[in-house]
């Protein structure tokens, strides 16, 4: 009896080892929100068909948010607000209300370094143009009068502009909200080990299945295809803003898409800012805010926030260097 128990224990143990190393995730990738969105599910206790169905529901929610918040889509609700917001108050939608309200909170928190009303200045720069150019400085100065989050008139029912010509651009926050919502849909349907990655901004939820296994790599901002470094993360959200995503070079000067709401020109102090936070909306918006603040002011800001960490890459005397907040400093490793 005892002998067979020992043999049985050994057999079960060997099976246990095999299962541990065999996690085959189910992945779906789609083009949404002007980038790729990848949903990876590691949970093993549901059928493949059921997991794919739940992933489909999460994608539906992202599509729904995109239809409301994408200002490049002429038929989105935000485009309608941008066209008519100065003439009359637009009836509020729950998604739009949440995203705009959160934007206002982060604008106040970051003292205006994050501002969704930069839309009018962004239009001047037109980074999606085949032949982008530097706009006239007087035109930028004039348009800056339309950039101020305090000029939004917002309540739970209506949204409008206090000045005509204003434009909202939710590009630095809507993706984060969509990631949070996709993860919420997965959780509601019983998935507890997964990752949603939208163009490099991401959120993960984790069980013992994948705990301790994930490295989050930060792209090298200047050497294409190379990584700068990594940290380990089980659950949480990460977003990065970099000057290498959308840019053009004119007369040896790099003009990128992260504009300083106070000057109307690209913020020049950082190269890349990675924020780690509990939710993706906060990480997404703060990555832009801290990028605009610059490494010194940005680091002071992050150190004063609870549950927020950051890794900032910037140039000093022509050299690429990095700095990180207290909570992540010892956990960040350079590649190679």
């Amino acid at each position: 009896m005892k002998k067979s128990l020992i043999v049985l224990f050994l057999i079960l143990f060997s099976f246990q080892c095999q299962n541990y190393s065999k996690i085959i995730p189910i992945t779906q990738t789609r083009l949404l929100m002007d980038t790729f969105v990848q949903i990876v599910v590691y949970d093993q206790d549901k059928s493949k068909h059921e997991i794919n169905r739940i992933i489909g529901l999460a994608f539906d929610r992202i599509q729904q948010i995109d239809n409301i918040t994408n200002s490049y889509n002429d038929s989105s609700l935000i485009s309608f607000v941008n066209q008519n917001g100065a003439s009359y108050q637009i009836q509020m939608d729950s998604v739009l209300y949440h995203v705009v309200k959160e934007s206002q909170r982060i604008s106040t928190l970051s003292k205006g370094n994050f501002d969704i009303t930069t839309g009018a200045v962004k239009d001047l720069w037109d980074f999606n143009n085949d032949n982008p150019f530097v706009p006239d400085s007087t035109v930028i100065r004039k348009t800056l009068k339309l950039v101020d989050y305090k000029l939004l008139s917002i309540d739970s029912d209506y949204l409008g502009f206090k000045t005509s010509g204003m434009k909202i651009d939710l590009g630095a926050i809507a993706k984060g909200f969509a990631i949070d919502e996709a993860v919420r849909i997965l959780s509601v349907h019983g998935i507890h080990d997964a990752m949603v990655n939208a163009g490099g901004d991401l959120k993960t939820i984790c069980t013992n299945l994948t705990a301790g296994k994930r490295k989050v790599w930060i792209n090298h901002p200047r050497n294409t295809g190379e990584m700068f470094g990594f940290f380990r993360m089980d659950s949480g959200s990460v977003a990065t803003s970099g000057d290498y995503e959308r840019f053009f070079i004119k007369d040896s000067i790099r003009y990128h898409h992260i504009l300083d709401p106070k000057t109307g020109y690209p913020a020049g102090k950082c190269i890349s800012v990675t924020i780690i936070a509990k939710n993706a909306l906060t990480a997404d918006a703060l990555a832009t805010a801290v990028f605009v603040m610059g490494p010194e002011q940005g680091m002071i800001f992050v150190e004063n926030q609870a549950f927020i960490e950051c890794i900032i890459l910037y140039k000093k005397d022509g050299k690429l260097i990095w700095t990180a907040s207290t909570g992540i400093k010892d956990k960040f490793y350079l590649a190679n």
Binding site: S14, Q38, D130, M195, T210, I218
Partner: protein, 134 residues
């Protein structure tokens, strides 16, 4: 220490020669399969291509080739070479996909938003948990 030794010797006394051989076979099997699995898993990587969120194509990453993909705005030509893949030509305006360079890891992706093309690598190695923030 004494207790531990007596515990082990009790177990050892319980085992017959057959049991010992069986345990040895288990260990040998585990050891051999560890290497066998590693050899077996390393190829197997495929390039997954998705066009306009519906058409899906899969190509072996170990077989060098050039492929023309046709999206809504024109052609995207990709090159698979020595276990890596990149976009070498695209009809899109900003050529972000071409500038993305080579990818080879299972967590890397190239996207052409205007031509609605996603190029990803599928493999079963442990890097599958990793992700790139950018």
């Amino acid at each position: 220490m004494k207790n531990k030794n007596s515990f082990l010797s009790t177990i050892f006394k319980l085992l017959t020669t057959g049991d010992k051989i069986l345990i040895l076979i288990f260990f040998l099997f585990g050891f051999v399969s560890l290497f066998a699995l590693q050899r077996y898993q390393q190829p197997g990587s495929t390039v997954l291509i998705k066009i306009a969120n519906n058409k899906i194509y899969r190509y072996n990453l170990d077989k060098d080739r050039e492929i023309n993909l046709h999206g809504p705005i024109g052609t995207t030509r990709i090159l698979i070479h020595k276990g890596k893949v990149r976009v070498i030509h695209s009809d899109c305006p900003q050529k972000i996909c071409v500038k993305s360079g080579w990818i080879s890891g299972s967590f890397e992706i190239i996207v052409c938003v205007p031509n609605k093309i996603i190029i990803a690598i599928e493999s079963k190695n442990n890097q599958y948990f990793d992700v790139i923030t950018q």
